[in-house]
Every structure is written in structure tokens, then in C-alpha cells.
Subunit: 452 residues, 2 copies
């Protein structure tokens, strides 16, 4: 996605801050959408972000603080007094409040929970027990529910009563005497029914629902599968405890996809482009360190054939081509396979078909690019026997690339390890070693046979 | 996202098909959700998929056919008669019908448009003029709108009238005498107002809206920014022509993120893991071909220093480490930068900050991994001078990796080229050439100076 961002106001804010006119900054901010303010905060130096944050109304602050990453959020929150923080948290929906409070030091968390009022505090505390990446962690306590013996009229009154405090009421939940979810009613159905109709009659009796401990990835898949706007969340006894709305799920979907590709590139999913350098250095170092190990492993293969290279140094010139092309083909294979696994288009059941396919694709592209490479080598005056060597080694290495690019994520999946993580490192190690070994090994054989 | 897909039924269906009992297949299918049927169709061999598709009710067929990729959809559609196809398309919402019809050969499209009834046909034809990846292409004509002089009671009656044919009515649109969008009303607001209240009074008067020609990526960003469920679409004169619902947007978001990473890996975004090999071969070949060119370019740098390698063949052993580590560090930098650009966290305004940051990260990790590499080299008995060379070259190359990993996507963005596409190829070319040049070039200098 590369739409030009037209709505960051970093330069304007910076100029106003330099001018020192806090009033001007305040009035400029009050005209912006919270998500733009969030983006602006993320783009400013931390001290400026703090200054701007302090000028926001509690309402805008409560929204903007949710739009920035955890690190900046901590800095912003610690810059305001606990009274101000209580005001800000008070403006939030329970799920967001729980997220923010869970990031606070224990003592601050206690103060805020005391400050936001007993009823809200109880709701938030209930949410705090669920891990953040589960249905329980994503749900909010705000919802409209009625007993199953209610009428349409009574239900409409309940919607009316709750609508001051709740946004996005797109349906009403029906519960039995012990609070167990018995059905859902979309608002349009409610409008259409006569006032005395029992709510049970117009309710969808077997609504899609999830338990609190379901992983957020699965929640996202359920939303996509059933095109839902809201999903009720129940506890182990089937009692309704919250609802998840589609806008929270959109963020989950985005996060999960980025996570896969971040892992493939050896990145920590928490890293952001505007993080301070020291953080990025330490987040990226471990993966580079592991890669250094595999690079030495590949180099040790070259070392074995040092004598061969000594006799024919053009091999050293061409060997990076073989290894590099294998790496590129492997990246293609692995990206397609990891995506297929992520979307559920591929499972272990059709693993064999995909292995065969990727091997064939690797072989075919190996034959073609190997042939072209041999042709170029011939044109630039390299001996035909070396060109032949290049052709065979590239074909073999692209076959290795396709096979390992499909096999390794599938094996990781079968071992119940995330197929995205570390797939790349294993696969490029295969193509590096494969490339050097086939190319230099064959060269040695050719030499012994007197062809080279 | 790696949730186990529990809902594909490929094996069961295959067994039933082998048994030849069409009735059993039909009744098994009728118990499944359309998205599961879609996934099952995609996992079967094409001839089996066709058999299964023919057994579906028009309603299930109309949903399942939207869940498979374009290639399979064409195969399925061409397997049924035009009467059957009309029945299937008749079950679809106008936006989906337009998508399917736009993929048909002209003659078939005309037949279907004639078959689905005059009113629907007109709506679909209006949608057909918009490119698929714009707001116009994503919108559906099904919506509830009332004139601005209506009352709440009249509006509720309009909802009632339309609700048989329209799913997911979450709000009502208000238009003026010439059809221009004048406001929106969420259903819960409608429930709460008295029957005689003029609809104008409870309408949101400046609703978020988009014009038909807005790109789908921007539409997705608007949904995320304002947490919308529905977005009205207007023509150049501000007249209401359709609405986009959040479930269509979720797919766009997913597609756009995958697209970025696909481009980075040199893949065509249309490719799917279960595509036939011939298709994957041809989709992947062009990128591999371009890479072959850059690989030869890098090799030509090695060629320049052939004499140096001849004198000290251990250089050929170590040079892939320098180039490979640069490539890994570059992939990290580029992934972070492309993601930042996609999410709008990074714009050209803070480009300098990111360039400085990535250079510093590259330098620091270069110093660390270079130091470790030199240490390992020393331990395995390589001359200290060669270790020093390795240290300097790795530091320089990781600096190059960070700088080019940030600079190249930013320059592409500045040139209004998609920063994801071809970033990787430029950056790895930089690190390959940079790695070989610094390592072998310095070695040559060291030799002349008598250090090596």
C-alpha cells in the first residue's frame, strides 16, 4: 500500500512549537482527526511529542495515544500526572483501557483503576486477565444484551438506554437466565419486527461465537469467513462476556501478515521505521549473528575446493552467480508457500503436490536461466566446458531452491513451528551450500576427467 | 497467520467422488459454508472441482465461485450452461455480479446481462464501467437511501421495504432532490428517534465519502482511519451511486500487504500456491532473468580482481560471507522501510532521519558482526591481516546495506514508482558489488602495501 499520506502535520506542528504559542498548537490540534494526531506524534522527536500530547483534550488524547506504538505510549503516559491519566483512560472503551492499563507499572495501574469509577474498573479488571492476543484480550465489555423472554419493544428500549455510552451497536445479544448466549439480533431485523414480538422469534439462534481463549488469528479468520461486523465472546460455560468489533480485527489482520514477512526477513515484529537506532541495532543483531554462522558454513564448503579454485580462478568469479540465483529462486518459492499456509490455501494434505510443483518450477527455471548464463559465458569468452558446468550447477541449484523452499516451511509447519520464522535462513543456507558444492564439486570432477 | 485450517474437506469429497454417489456429495456440500466449499474447490484437481461445482445449488455456487481465484472461476463458469450461469449470477450482489461478468467473454456477458432482469442488469452495467481496483469497482449498488425531507417513520419503512434484498444494512443514506449525498444515519440513531422527527435532524451532515475513481488502497485507509462499517460512494457531481462495506475492504487490505512483499520477492501478486507449474514458471522467470543480469554485473567486479584471488585463494572462500551478510542486513532495512511507507508512518519528510538511522544501524551491526567474523577467522587459523580485511569490508558493506536499503525505496517513492517493486534487486546488487569491491579492492591495496 503506497497511498501518499496527505495528513501528517509534522512540519506545521514543529513550526508552531518553535513559535512557542501553545494556544495556536492547541487550536490546530483540535481540528485534526485522532489518527492523524497519532501519526504526527510518532513523527516528532520524543520531547516535542510530549509537549503536543500535553496540549490535547482528554478525549483526543485518549484516542491518539492508542494510535502510537507501545514505546512512545509509555513515554507520553509517563509525562502526564495520574489525575490527567485517569481522565484520559476514562474516555476509552474498556478493551482499550485494559490494554493501556496492562502496560502501566503496578502502582500506577492500581491508581488508575481506582480513579475511573467502580463499574468501569470492574469491567476493565475482568478484561485484564486475558492475554492480549486472544479473543478475551481483543473483546470489549460494552454491548447490548437482553434476556430471551424480552419483547422487541423492551429490546429497543435497552438499545436506547445503552446507546449513549456505546458506539457501533450493530446488533443485540440475547442471553438466557444464567447469562449464556442464546442468540443475536441484527438492528435492521429489530426495526422490522412489531413491538410485541418476542425477541426469541427474530433472533439468529445459532450465532457464530468464540471462547475467550481463542487466538486472535483465528478470530480474524472467523470474521473474514462469515463477513461479520461483531462477534460475541463467551466463557467456558457459554456465558456472554464481551464482543469483538470488526475495526479491531482489521488491525489484527494487518499485524499478522506483516509479522510473517518480518519473520522471514529476520526482523522483530515490534520494530518500527522510526524507532531509535539503538533499538533497531539490538533487535536485528541476533538474526545477523545466526546468519554469520550459516555464512561461515557455506564458506567452509568453498574452502574444501580451494585447490580447484587455485587451478581455475574463473570459478571464483562465477560461483556467486550460482549461489545468488539459487537464493532468489528460493525466496520466490518460500514466499508463495508461506502465503499459501497463512491463507489456508495450502495444508499438509496437499504438501506432496506443492513439493512436486516447486521442484518442477525450480528445474524449469534452472534449465532456462542456466542455459542463458552458459550462453553469456560463451559470449564473454569463457571456455565452453566452464559454461556447461555453469549450466548444470545452476539447474541443480534452482531445483534445490524449489525443493527446499517448499519443503522447509512445510516441515516447520508439521513440527508445529511457525513456518515463516527461520524458513529463509535454512533455505538460503541450502542454496548457498548447494550452489558452491555442485559448482565447485563438478568442476573438480571435470578436472579429474580432463574436461577442464 | 498460521492457524490450522480445520475446514477443508478435500479428502472427504475426493472419496465421495470416487464412490460416484452424486447424491451423497450434494448432501455433504449443502452442510458446508461457502468459503469452505471455495477452499475445497481450489484444492481439488480441476476436473473434480468442475464435478463438485455442478452439484451446488445456485445460491451456494454463487458464493463459492467468488472464493476461488480468477483462473479456476473461469474454468468453473465455462463448465455450466448459460441458463445455469444466469441463475448463479442472479443470486449475487451487484458488485460481485459485475466482477464475474467482467471476466466473461463479451457474448456470454451479454447473455447473462439479458438474463438477470432489467433492473439488476442496469445496476450491474453501471458498475461495469469502473476499474476493479477503484471505489467504483468495489462498491455495490444495494443500499437504502431516502430524500432529505423524509421523516424517521418513512425512513424505517424504506428500510423495511429494502431489507428483503439487502444484507448488512448498517446505515441509511440521505440524498437531496438531485440525488446528491446529504448525510448518513446509523441504524441505532434511527431506532432512538421519534417517528415524526425529520431525518435531516438526526443525520450526520458531513459524512466521510469517496468518489468513484479513488484507489482501493486509499479506500482501505479511510476505513481504517475512521473505523467505518460502510462508506458512501459518489460521482463527480456528488450524487450517491453506491456503498462499500467493511467486509470487502478487509480483503483489499490483505491483498495490498501481500502485494508489497510479493513484489519484493520478485513475484506476481496473482500467483497462488496451487497454480499449475507452467504458470508459476512463466510468472517467476522474468525476475530471475533480471537477477541473472545483476549477478553477472557483480561477477564482473570479482573478475577485475581475479589476479588478487589467484595470489591468495582464501579471499574466494571469504568473499561470499561479506556479500551475503550485506544482503541480509539490506533485506532487514528494506523490509522495515517499505512497511513504514505502506503504513504511512514514514513519508519523504522524515527521509533524512531514516537514512541516518539505517546507516547507523548498518554501521553498528557491521562493526559487531565484522568483529566476530574476524575473531572466527583468527581461530580457524586465517592470517590476522585477512581477518582485519574481513572486518573492514563487512563494516563497510553493512553500512552500504543500511544506506541503500533506506535510500532506494525512498528514491523510488520520490520518483512516484512503487517502492516495493524492484527495491530488493537494486539493493542486493549494491551489497553484492559493494561487498566484492570493498573486500577484494582492499585486499589488492593491502597486497601492494605489503601487509598481505
Amino acid at each position: 500500500m503506497t497511498v501518499e499520506v496527505k495528513n501528517d502535520h509534522i512540519e506545521e506542528i514543529r513550526l508552531l512549537l518553535e513559535g512557542g504559542d501553545e494556544h495556536a498548537v492547541s487550536s490546530f490540534l483540535s481540528g485534526l482527526h485522532a489518527s492523524d494526531i497519532g501519526r504526527t506524534l510518532a513523527g516528532l522527536a520524543e520531547e516535542d511529542a510530549v509537549k503536543v500530547f500535553k496540549l490535547l483534550s482528554p478525549e483526543l488524547a485518549s484516542e491518539a495515544v492508542l494510535e502510537v506504538d507501545e514505546r512512545l505510549r509509555k513515554a507520553l503516559i509517563s509525562s502526564i500526572s495520574s489525575e490527567e491519566l485517569i481522565e484520559v483512560v476514562d474516555e476509552m472503551e474498556t478493551d482499550d483501557a485494559a490494554d493501556v492499563i496492562s502496560e502501566l507499572p503496578i502502582e500506577d495501574a492500581r491508581q488508575v483503576l481506582e480513579g475511573i469509577g467502580k463499574e468501569d474498573s470492574l469491567e476493565v479488571q475482568k478484561l485484564l486477565v486475558y492475554p492480549e492476543d486472544t479473543a478475551g484480550g481483543k473483546m470489549q465489555a460494552e454491548l447490548v444484551s437482553v434476556r430471551e423472554d424480552s419483547t422487541v419493544q423492551q429490546t429497543i428500549e435497552e438499545v436506547r438506554r445503552k446507546s449513549k455510552d456505546i458506539e457501533n451497536i450493530s446488533n443485540v445479544f440475547v442471553v438466557d437466565g444464567s447469562g449464556r448466549l442464546a442468540g443475536t439480533v441484527a438492528l435492521d431485523k429489530l426495526i422490522l419486527a412489531g413491538p410485541d414480538v418476542p425477541i426469541k422469534e427474530i433472533a439468529e439462534r445459532e450465532p457464530v461465537k468464540v471462547r475467550t481463549d481463542v487466538d486472535q488469528e483465528e478470530v480474524a479468520k472467523i470474521f473474514q469467513k462469515y463477513d461479520l461486523l461483531t462477534l460475541p465472546v463467551v466463557d467456558h460455560d457459554g456465558r456472554l462476556v464481551g464482543r469483538i468489533t470488526v475495526d479491531d480485527v482489521v488491525d489484527v489482520i494487518e499485524e499478522e501478515i506483516f509479522e510473517d514477512f518480518y519473520k522471514m526477513a529476520g526482523l522483530n515484529v515490534e520494530e518500527r521505521v522510526l524507532d531509535p537506532p539503538s533499538r533497531s541495532i539490538w533487535l536485528r543483531f541476533p538474526w545477523l549473528f545466526v546468519n554469520l554462522g550459516t555464512a561461515f558454513l557455506a564458506a567452509s564448503v568453498v574452502k574444501v575446493f580451494q585447490g580447484t579454485i587455485e587451478k581455475l580462478v574463473v570459478l571464483a568469479v562465477l560461483m556467486p552467480i550460482v549461489a545468488g540465483m539459487g537464493g532468489n529462486a528460493a525466496t520466490q518459492a518460500i514466499t508463495v508457500v508461506v502465503r499459501g499456509l497463512a491463507l489456508g490455501e495450502l495444508s499438509l494434505k496437499n504438501a506432496r503436490r506443492v513439493l512436486a510443483k516447486e521442484s518442477l518450477v525450480g528445474l524449469a527455471n534452472g534449465l532456462m536461466t542456466g542455459g542463458i548464463a552458459a550462453g553469456i559465458a560463451y559470449i564473454v569468452g569463457i571456455k565452453p566446458a566452464v559454461g556447461l558446468l555453469l549450466f548444470i550447477a545452476m539447474t541443480a541449484n534452482l531445483l534445490i531452491a524449489g525443493l527446499s523452499g517448499a519443503l522447509i516451511p512445510l516441515v516447520l509447519k508439521w513440527m508445529k513451528v511457525d513456518p515463516a520464522i527461520s524458513s529463509s535462513i535454512f533455505v538460503t543456507t541450502c542454496t548457498d551450500i548447494g550452489g558452491f558444492f555442485t559448482f565447485l564439486g563438478l568442476a573438480t570432477v571435470f578436472m579429474k576427467a580432463g574436461i577442464l
